[in-house]
């Protein structure tokens, strides 16, 4: 059994980071939250644009994502920063976090005004960082690791090298009985029948079919470009065909391969917590990178593997994001952003299996504490997928 050095939480989950999180419940308190976090090195902030003037499923999605982000095992303690009149209840946020056994505090901007709220919040967070810093990493089974798989800024190299290498890493973690999240519903359309075949029960298939239908219906409200005349998503362009992609199955498989051959054990809403069962979880997210990663981290991902052909600086507020490219030019040009260059697979100097092993060694080092490029550069990206109108 392989092991890693992680932070064992009171609920049995394992974090690979030990962040004190400053969490605004609403856009209106986000500025105050950022000021508090900026005053205390060692804290992170999940600044966002949601939390009020939202309805129904859209409101529930924001609420769920905020709660589950706070519950992510990479987070040691949380200060919730509320405004006072918002729809998301900051008191509920704090109480749910406390119920999970994690230290949590609350400061309401309407109780003190900006300057005093920042002062009081800073004092609370300073104390939380002091306490959190006393935790030590301990040896835990690697099965506690949860990888989130993402691709963005894809090019010819993604489907050939970076995505299959990430799939190899998924298979390695699966052999250790770990968990993997695959997202980006828009990127799965076209090969969904292959995913249906990997699902073990009808309930899972029903949920996944509903997820695909909802995405297609919503897209069609804005544009008919994603579907052809028979309302079948037709996301393969003349440029794709010139580049060597023959069918929509092939295009979507190039993205889907990030989940390797891991059995699908769950289908989850955006930001919904995954289950304890080892395997692959599909999560309904847009292909929009930061929103997709935010959803998977709320779902429980503690490390994110992000493939990119053209390069992108994206990180996450609480999870290390490992940037992987199969494009050697990108690896050179964006050296400060790219953690892993797998272009040797394309030049024939490395096999996928070798690349997968090499990547997994990096995953392990990052899980054990080595910082990723996005962490070093302070890329604290966080954005909640908004699916409804704002009132």
């Amino acid at each position: 059994m392989k092991t890693m050095m992680g932070y064992l939480r009171s609920d049995g989950s394992v974090g690979v980071r030990n962040h004190v999180l400053v969490l605004p419940s609403v856009l209106c308190s986000s500025n105050v939250a950022r000021k508090i976090s900026a005053a205390v090195p060692g804290s992170v902030v999940a600044s966002h644009n949601q939390g009020c003037a939202q309805l129904g499923d859209d409101f529930q999605q924001t609420r769920r994502t905020l709660i589950n982000t706070a519950l992510n095992p990479n987070v040691a303690a949380v200060l919730v920063v509320g405004l006072g009149c918002e729809r998301v209840s900051p008191h509920e946020l704090r109480d749910v976090i406390l119920d999970s056994g994690k230290p949590a505090g609350l400061i309401m901007v309407q109780d003190y005004g900006t300057v005093e709220a920042v002062e009081r919040g800073t004092a609370i967070v300073r104390k939380m960082v002091e306490e959190a810093s006393k935790s030590e990493r301990e040896e835990v089974p690697l099965s506690r690791l949860v990888l989130g798989m993402e691709c963005g800024g894809s090019d010819f190299s993604s489907g050939l090298s970076a995505n299959p290498v990430v799939g190899e890493a998924a298979d390695i973690l699966w052999r250790e009985e770990g968990r993997v999240i695959l997202s980006e519903t828009t990127e799965l359309v076209g090969a969904e029948h292959l995913l249906f075949e990997r699902m073990k029960n009808e309930e899972m298939k029903r949920r996944f079919a509903g997820m695909l239908k909802r995405m297609i219906d919503e897209s069609m409200k804005n544009s008919r470009d994603v579907v052809d005349k028979e309302n079948v998503p037709n996301n393969i362009s003349p440029g794709n065909v010139r580049g060597g992609l023959t069918t929509l199955e092939e295009k979507s498989l190039g993205a889907m391969i990030k989940g390797g051959k891991v059995p699908i054990v769950g289908v989850k809403e955006y930001g919904e917590l995954i289950d304890p069962e080892p395997g692959l979880y599909l999560m309904d997210t847009p292909g929009y990178d930061v929103e997709s990663v935010t959803g998977m981290v709320a779902g429980g991902s503690t490390v994110v593997l992000f493939t990119t052909g053209q390069g992108t600086p994206t990180g996450n507020a609480i999870a290390p994001v490992i940037k992987i490219t199969g494009n050697h030019e990108t690896a050179k040009k964006m050296k400060m952003n790219i953690d892993f260059d797998c272009s040797a697979i394309i030049s024939g100097k490395e096999t996928l299996e070798e690349g997968g092993k090499r990547l997994f060694e990096l995953v392990l080092r990052v899980a054990n504490g080595e910082k990723t490029k996005s962490e070093i550069l302070g890329q604290d990206d966080f954005s909640i997928w908004n699916v409804g109108i704002k009132l």
Binding site: F156, L160, P164, G190, A191, E192, H193, L194, F196, M199, E202, K205, R206, F208, A209, G210, L212, K213, I216, E230, N231, V232, V241, R242, G243, G244, T246, T247, L248, E249, E250, L253, G254, I257, K261, I345, I346, S347, G348, T351, L352, E353
Partner: protein, 99 residues
């Protein structure tokens, strides 16, 4: 000699990593080692070449998964693309049934 990559053991197509001309040798690097074949047609960069003979109506396998169906017999070394492959994908039905 040109190069191609086989992404999975069960795949019957490999992706060429540079433009290949008719009659050129291709070294296919896969999970289990190397295979040599000769290109029967010109194959553009990033496109697929058959690594074994594929019969009409047989599935094209890449990434260890089916990506379409052969519309004609394809022999080892031939270019595999829209001229000899069609998509199998169908409309989404509730419960995952295929139309």
């Amino acid at each position: 000699m040109k190069h191609a990559i086989l992404l999975s053991l069960n795949d019957n197509v490999a992706t060429v990593l540079e433009k290949v001309d008719i009659g050129e040798e291709i070294e296919v690097k896969g999970v289990s080692g190397l295979q040599m074949l000769v290109a029967k047609e010109e194959i553009p960069f990033g496109h697929k070449v058959a690594v074994r003979d594929i019969k009409r109506n047989e599935r094209i396998i890449k990434y260890n998964n089916k990506i379409g169906i052969a519309t004609s017999n394809i022999s080892t070394g031939q270019h595999v693309h829209i001229q000899n492959v069609v998509s199998e994908r169908t409309e989404i039905k509730e419960g995952g049934d295929r139309a």
